[in-house]
């Protein structure tokens, strides 16, 4: 019997049941009334609008005036034949794979280094993490000038730095490298911005592993490398999963960084940018909605299994 039920029973015995019942009922009513506005807002702005987008994506709508004439799956079929959209999908795939691989490995590397309890740990941690506070637009503007592809007497940015350091073999055309690999260079600023976050996740995971466990392994004759390989890495698996989900959905939605760096260069296009351009510059609302729904489906394929898994393990705890 919970304490509240106990109180109810005691009050019933004292003959005060009706009043208590009423207050409990009205507390419940108040609590529901308090969250109803948020529930309605999400119902409209998330689920209602997704439905509305779906309807636009199945329509003929091009031009400024809404036109909901049913077009079936025509917008989607056209996307399949669209060369620009094919570039977008390829770019997203390259970007996501490289971004995840680099962020996870650099994040883990930094976390393991910081876990050695060196002096100045806090300072280093702050340095690795501060780009998280900055907008992708600022990051894009700064990196666009670092990744300038000019050579010869007009050489500047990182290429100039490489030249001055005698590292000429590193000089390259950055994001203006021939397709499809230009997009791979946009991973650099993205990793600059997000790897600190991965580091923080891993460091949290490492710090939650008890020192006793490591000590026990040491007593059993395990070397530091073996401890990481056989004890710590398996324990960090849930952290890796969280990081993949968070970074993965950011990567599938990447938009502002590309806008700021590429300035309308089709070779570096991604679905998020295409949707924005075709809808608000080209007035191809039907096509824009279809791209939006496509993006939603790709993110949902990543997020929904994770949310189901998360909720399940939470109820088990």
């Amino acid at each position: 019997m919970s304490a509240s039920q106990y109180v109810d029973t005691m009050e019933a015995a004292a003959g005060r049941l009706p009043e208590r019942r009423r207050t409990v009922f009205s507390d419940r009513a108040i609590s529901i009334a308090l969250v109803i506005p948020s529930i309605i807002a999400i119902a409209i702005f998330v689920y209602g609008f997704i439905g509305w987008s779906l309807r636009v994506s199945l329509s003929e709508w091009t031009g400024l005036i809404p036109d909901y004439t049913f077009a079936g799956l025509r917008q989607y079929a056209e996307l399949l034949d669209d060369r620009r959209f094919a570039i977008d999908v390829r770019n997203t795939a390259i970007f996501t794979v490289l971004f995840l691989a680099a962020s996870l490995s650099i994040g883990l590397y930094l976390a393991v280094l910081l876990d050695q309890r060196l002096k100045g740990e806090n300072l280093f941690r702050s340095i690795f993490l501060f780009p998280m506070a900055i907008s992708f637009i600022v990051t894009g503007v700064a990196w666009r000038w670092l990744m300038t592809s000019a050579t010869g007497t007009r050489i500047s940015g990182l290429n100039l730095l490489f030249q001055n350091l005698g590292l000429d073999f590193l000089i390259n055309k950055w994001h203006l490298t021939d397709p499809p690999w230009g997009i791979a260079f946009i991973v650099i600023p993205a990793v600059w911005q997000m790897s600190g976050f991965t580091m923080a996740l891993y460091l949290g995971g490492l710090r939650s592993i008890s020192e006793d466990l490591r000590e026990a392994a040491r007593v059993d004759g395990a070397g530091e490398f073996q401890i990481y390989r056989y004890i710590i890495m398996p324990l960090l698996r849930p952290v890796t999963l969280s990081a993949i989900i968070i970074l993965g959905h950011i990567s599938l939605k990447i938009f502002d960084l590309i806008v700021a760096i590429s300035q309308n260069n089709i070779a570096l296009d991604v679905p998020g940018v295409y949707m924005w351009r075709t809808t608000f510059d080209g007035n191809n609302y039907g096509q824009g909605a279809a791209i939006g729904i496509f993006m939603l489906v790709t993110v949902a394929l990543l997020i929904i299994p994770y949310m189901v898994y998360s909720m399940r393990t939470e109820t088990e705890l």
């Binding site: 702005f45 600022v138 949707m275």
Partner: protein, 277 residues
């Protein structure tokens, strides 16, 4: 033991070296932004980008500020109300979803949470149409509303997790003393919420300040926040690169200052985004 100590003496400097090299990578863009911003117009030269300024000038920052000032102001007018409203909404929601669960409340919470992950391109056309019809497209008020609504999932999540740590026995005790649902919030839960509010305020401040997608479709040139203004400035051929760099640093300053002074709380908001983190 001695071999272990010897090994440490060798590995420590190597580890420091690796940390310092990585730190250089993270600080490089800030270095360029800073030295470029502090040079005189005469000294600015793409081919001498990495050189330190011979003396300190603020011409670049002044030129950038002239361009961006109204938009920085727009950003603050947008971000301050939206983060305050967001945190209040999140606090009330979190209280109900953690301590006053009703039938299907967990399922509803999960549905709300999904809103945090959706690509906003999938709701952008209806959103613009809807705001247009309400007459809110182009206004800061409209953008505040949008940030508050799409902030509901994350703010509710952070507060729900935060309140899960408030022992239910405390609320039971309050109830025995005669407090109702609102009284418990007012006298027990709210006073314990200050750290939660700090985390959510900082998180929402950063999110709304750094947003570009909503701003670019919902505002016009007089109401552009700084992200949109900076991007347009960087895209134009008229504004010099050095002024762009100074502008980028200027635009980054508010959230950077928050990070420097309140980094601990910033990190906590970040972790909440990892659901179970």
């Amino acid at each position: 033991m001695t071999t272990q100590r010897l090994a440490r003496q060798i590995t420590r400097p190597i580890m420091y070296l690796m940390l310092v090299l990585m730190a250089i990578f993270y600080l490089l863009p800030i270095y360029v932004l800073l030295v470029t911003g502090l040079k005189s117009f005469a000294e600015v030269d793409l081919q001498r980008m990495w050189d330190l300024p011979s003396a300190i000038y603020f011409e670049n920052f002044l030129a950038a500020y002239e361009n961006l000032a109204p938009h920085l102001w727009n950003s603050l007018r947008l971000v301050i109300p939206s983060s305050i409203i967001s945190s209040m909404v999140g606090s009330v929601n979190g209280y109900v979803f953690s301590k006053w669960k009703f039938k299907a409340s967990d399922a509803i919470f999960t549905l709300i949470l999904f809103g945090m992950f959706i690509p906003y391109q999938s709701i952008l056309i209806p959103l613009v149409q809807f705001m247009e019809r309400l007459g809110l497209r182009g206004s800061i008020t409209g953008l505040i509303l949008v940030h508050v609504i799409y902030g509901i999932p994350i703010t509710t999540l952070i507060f729900r997790n935060y309140y899960a740590g408030v022992p239910t026995e405390m609320l039971e005790a309050g109830r025995i003393d005669g407090a109702g649902m609102l009284g418990l919030y007012r006298w027990i839960v709210f006073p314990l919420s200050i750290p939660g509010f700090v985390v959510v305020l900082i998180w929402q401040f950063t999110q709304a300040y750094n947003d570009f997608l909503f701003a670019v479709v919902l505002t016009k040139n007089t109401t552009w926040p700084v992200t949109v203004a900076l991007n347009n400035m960087a895209g134009s051929q008229i504004v010099q690169w050095n002024v762009q760099m100074a502008g980028a640093l200027l635009a980054a300053l508010p959230t950077l200052l928050i990070y420097i002074f309140l980094g601990r709380f910033f990190l906590r908001g970040l972790m909440a985004g990892a659901l179970k983190g």
